[in-house]
């Protein structure tokens, strides 16, 4: 699902924002991150996977450990004040695409 990778949805969850805050200054392993939260390691793992999928978190393998860090470029994108407005127009124009597809197939059918 596309929505899964939507960065705005990813940060709508307070735990995920706390994770970002935690790893903003330093790369941490999943276990270290999980120790900072009351929820299960598994739950934290899911949060990280979602943020990794939308490009907000980078995961680097170092020896046996996997370190998580924040992707600053992606974060800057979220911080861009125009982004929600752009998203709204993107949604509108995607619907225009569908309309154009229908108009084209109608035209070809003639």
């Amino acid at each position: 699902m596309e929505s899964r990778r939507d960065v705005f949805q990813a940060i709508a969850d307070p735990t995920r924002r706390d994770i970002i805050k935690l790893i903003s200054g330093q790369s941490l392993t999943l276990n270290t991150i999980a120790e900072n939260f009351d929820v299960s390691r598994q739950a934290i793992s899911v949060h990280i996977r979602i943020m990794h999928e939308c490009g907000l978190i980078l995961i680097q393998q170092q020896g046996r450990e996997r370190f998580c860090s924040v992707e600053p470029k992606k974060l800057a994108e979220v911080a861009d004040w125009v982004e929600p407005f752009r998203k709204m127009w993107e949604g509108r124009f995607d619907r225009v695409d569908n309309i154009l597809k229908k108009l084209k197939s109608k035209k070809n059918a003639k």
């Binding site: 596309e2 940060i11 903003s24 974060l75 407005f85 752009r86 709204m88």
Partner: protein, 164 residues
């Protein structure tokens, strides 16, 4: 499925205008139709969260339009404007005013240009000119109040803290 054609918004700091730019994989004539047909406009201006219904639409010089946007929770508000120029298939110029503002008279001038890149490709540029920088920034920011708004704001605060 996400479209390959990128939507870009250019809103330079301190300016009274902004541009919305997007290319479409279709002949210019069809793209213009999607922007000038009442039923088609209702289909794409509206979305799951807000239905759009025109109560008046006169796409010609000197004509006017008004539509009602109705949110999922039943709250509705109007938008209206005057058509200055509908030149198929290349140009639409109109004004727009959101009726939900506390003060009337904040009008936007909108010029939409349809540029033929090939027989199957068209570039659309929407230019919005506002009465003030504050009007422009206010409208762009008003968008945050829907859906992504809260999360965006929270993250913004977070970033202001120490991230970037």
């Amino acid at each position: 499925m996400q479209s390959k054609n990128k939507t870009s918004v250019v809103a330079d700091a301190g300016k009274q205008e902004l541009f919305i730019i997007r290319e479409f994989e279709a002949p210019r004539k069809l793209v213009f139709k999607a922007f000038s047909d009442k039923k088609l406009l209702e289909d794409w201006l509206g979305c799951k969260e807000m239905k759009v219904k025109y109560e008046k639409f006169e796409p010609k010089a000197g004509g006017s339009w008004r539509y009602i946007g109705t949110m999922e929770n039943g709250v509705s508000f109007g938008f209206h404007g005057v058509c200055h120029d509908f030149t198929a298939p290349e140009r639409i110029i109109q004004t727009r005013e959101f009726e939900g503002l506390p003060e009337a008279g904040h009008v936007v001038m909108e010029t939409t240009r349809f540029e033929e890149l090939s027989s199957e490709r068209c570039k659309v540029t929407v230019q919005m000119v506002f009465q003030s920088v504050a009007d422009r920034d206010g409208m762009v920011q008003a968008n945050m109040e829907h859906g992504t708004a809260e999360s965006y704001q929270r993250l913004d605060e977070l970033i202001a803290g120490n991230l970037i």
